[in-house]
């Protein structure tokens, strides 16, 4: 199987879906001639032409709104928001429109749009090029939010998002783009949206996380294994709506749960994960449900000292894992 980087898997999924279905087209700032500021759409303008790889004017609400219109018509637009931080001007289109179109029309209309955006920190992006924005949307029924952790998942889930008949927000960790590589089948496959994935089977502690943090957690788990501590690791993959069953199963398995996110702590999607556990398997727990998250400050600063202080890493997770294991 070919080895691909995380971002190459994005490009591959887009290319294959555009080849498969004429209704798929791309819309976003600099996605055309330049191939995207991160190069996620590189080569697609050349292959599919400017009518299907559209350099949009600098206006996120229009990028989302035009995409929503096209999706209602029956196209399969994939809109790129250049940085997740810049999705905020499009919130009204996403929450008031995309999320509610099927429901408000009593199933007469639907909106199969995919909105991709690179998110997350650790790249000297400072306050406005580092944010985790999923929590803003993770309470809006009608939306699905996918955050893949591996190139394999990227390809399978991005294809699933494009084929989904409802709006999907697809957040790609920008630090993972070139850092994370992995095997990706050359052929067509989709992975189910809404299903979490057990990354490690283990008995001592359960770690639940998503995105880049999955890799940090894997590294930390490896170190713990050497000391005989076995980690059960669940990758959420879809952070809204959550895979309750998988969460309950994972938490019950060990009774000691660590929830990890790069987002600020208060009000992150991990609060919901915790609430699900506290509601459904409280008596299986042997320790308080522990959350490890970014500090409650607006966003990650530019200076390396403060960025590092904010950003999640394997060491921070390892420390929290050990504390939990010893509880």
């Amino acid at each position: 199987m070919p080895i691909m980087s995380y971002i190459e898997a994005v490009t591959a999924a887009l290319r294959e879906e555009m080849e498969r279905d004429e209704k798929v087209f791309l819309l976003g700032e600099d996605v055309g001639k330049k191939g995207g500021v991160f190069k996620a759409t590189q080569g697609l303008y050349e292959q599919f032409g400017e009518e299907r790889v559209i350099d949009a004017p600098l206006a996120e609400s229009a990028i989302a709104g035009v995409g929503i219109g096209a999706a209602m018509y029956g196209m399969r637009p994939v809109c790129e928001i250049q940085f997740a931080d810049f999705i905020m001007p499009a919130v009204n289109q996403i929450i008031s429109e995309a999320a509610k179109i099927r429901y408000r029309s009593n199933n007469d209309w639907n909106c199969p749009i995919t909105i991709r955006a690179p998110f997350g920190g650790g790249v000297h992006g400072a306050l406005y090029h580092s944010q985790s924005v999923e929590a803003v949307f993770a309470n809006q029924p009608g939306l699905k939010i996918v955050i893949p952790s591996t190139p394999y998942d990227v390809k399978g889930l991005l294809k699933a998002a494009i084929r989904d008949d409802d709006p999907v927000l697809f957040f790609e960790h920008k630090r993972a783009y070139r850092l994370i590589k992995g095997e990706v089948p050359a052929d067509d496959y989709v992975l189910p949206i809404g299903k979490a994935d057990v990354k490690l089977e283990g008995d001592d502690i359960t770690v639940i996380t998503y995105g880049l943090c999955v890799h940090f957690a894997l590294q930390a788990a490896e170190r713990l294994e050497k000391d005989g501590i076995s980690v059960h690791l669940l990758d959420l993959r879809t952070v809204y709506p959550l895979d309750q069953e998988a969460i309950i199963e994972a938490a019950s398995k060990t009774g000691k749960v660590l929830l990890v996110t790069e987002d600020n702590k208060e009000g992150s999607v991990m609060s919901e994960v915790s609430a699900i556990i506290a509601e459904h398997c409280l008596f299986d727990l042997d320790a308080p449900i522990k959350r490890l998250a970014g500090p409650d400050v607006p966003a990650m600063p530019f200076a390396p000292t403060m960025e590092k202080f904010f950003m999640m890493n394997a060491e921070k997770i390892e420390k929290a894992m050990r504390e939990l294991a010893e509880f």
Binding site: E51, A59, S61, G65, V66, G69, M75, N92, K100, N107
Partner: protein, 330 residues
Amino acid sequence: MPKNRHQSLGLTDQDVLNMYETMLLARKVDERMWLLNRAGKIPFVISCQGHEGAQVGAAFALDKTKDYILPYYRDVGVVLHFGMTVKELMLSAFAKAEDPNSGGRQMPGHFGQKKNRIVTGSSPVTTQVPHAAGIALAGKIDKKDFVTFVSFGEGSSNQGDFHEGANFAGVHKLPVILMCENNQYAISVPIQKQLACEKVSDRAAGYGMHGVTVDGNDPLEVYKVVKEARERAVRGEGPTLVETLVHRLTPHSSDDDDRSYRTKEEIEEAKKKDPIYTFASYLKEIGLLTEELEQNMQTKIASIIDEATDYAENAPYAAPEHALKHVYGN
């Protein structure tokens, strides 16, 4: 003998009579809704009264067999022409399960009916402008020759989404007709506190599109400019911003009392230009609309509305648990 103004526009006598009938139907439906509201039978009305000339003039200039429309809450005249029935409007007003717009989920005025290409709308104003651009873009990619028609109030033209949607349509020369129904008020706020430009159509230049302002009380004027806009759109010459000058003859909605912010005289003045009366006068003057014909129309309309009202009033609500349905497909 007064001048026949519709022939040169390519409208037959029957066409203009149909236009009038649609306007009258819209007006009468609206009036009935106010009665129902004041009688405590329906919770909310938002009116087309005063806008019917602009709405019906525009709607008749479109191709109702293929164009997509993205109307705003006042556009009863537009959706009637595009195939929504009075019964369906009443089902919506009564919030009944059979309402094709939303199954009773949305307030009346939130139109949507896929089979007639009436695109589902929400309450936040002007979100539909980018949608209109998106549907036009999709049609272009899909090599279809329809146009999209999107309408909104003048106050709403201050929203960012108007700007972003209009700009997108302009840059991509999309077949979009943007129609502003300028009634000089956004609820209580008069136009001078909403816009500093003289005409809303002054905004067209900023999007490289054609802009035009017409008397919205005259359906023929509106028909003419919307028809031209449609032709331009189909020829690939891009979008047009049409501003129609109208008057809102009612309070903003059934929840509003407009006495606190405008005078009786102002409304009386506006009523003199009521498109229903002025258009009827025209049709009478040129001898098309006879007493008898008008009487027949009135009778027919009254019975349609009565029947629709009865039906809707007696129709069932959706079951409580239906609230859980259709969040996602499959």
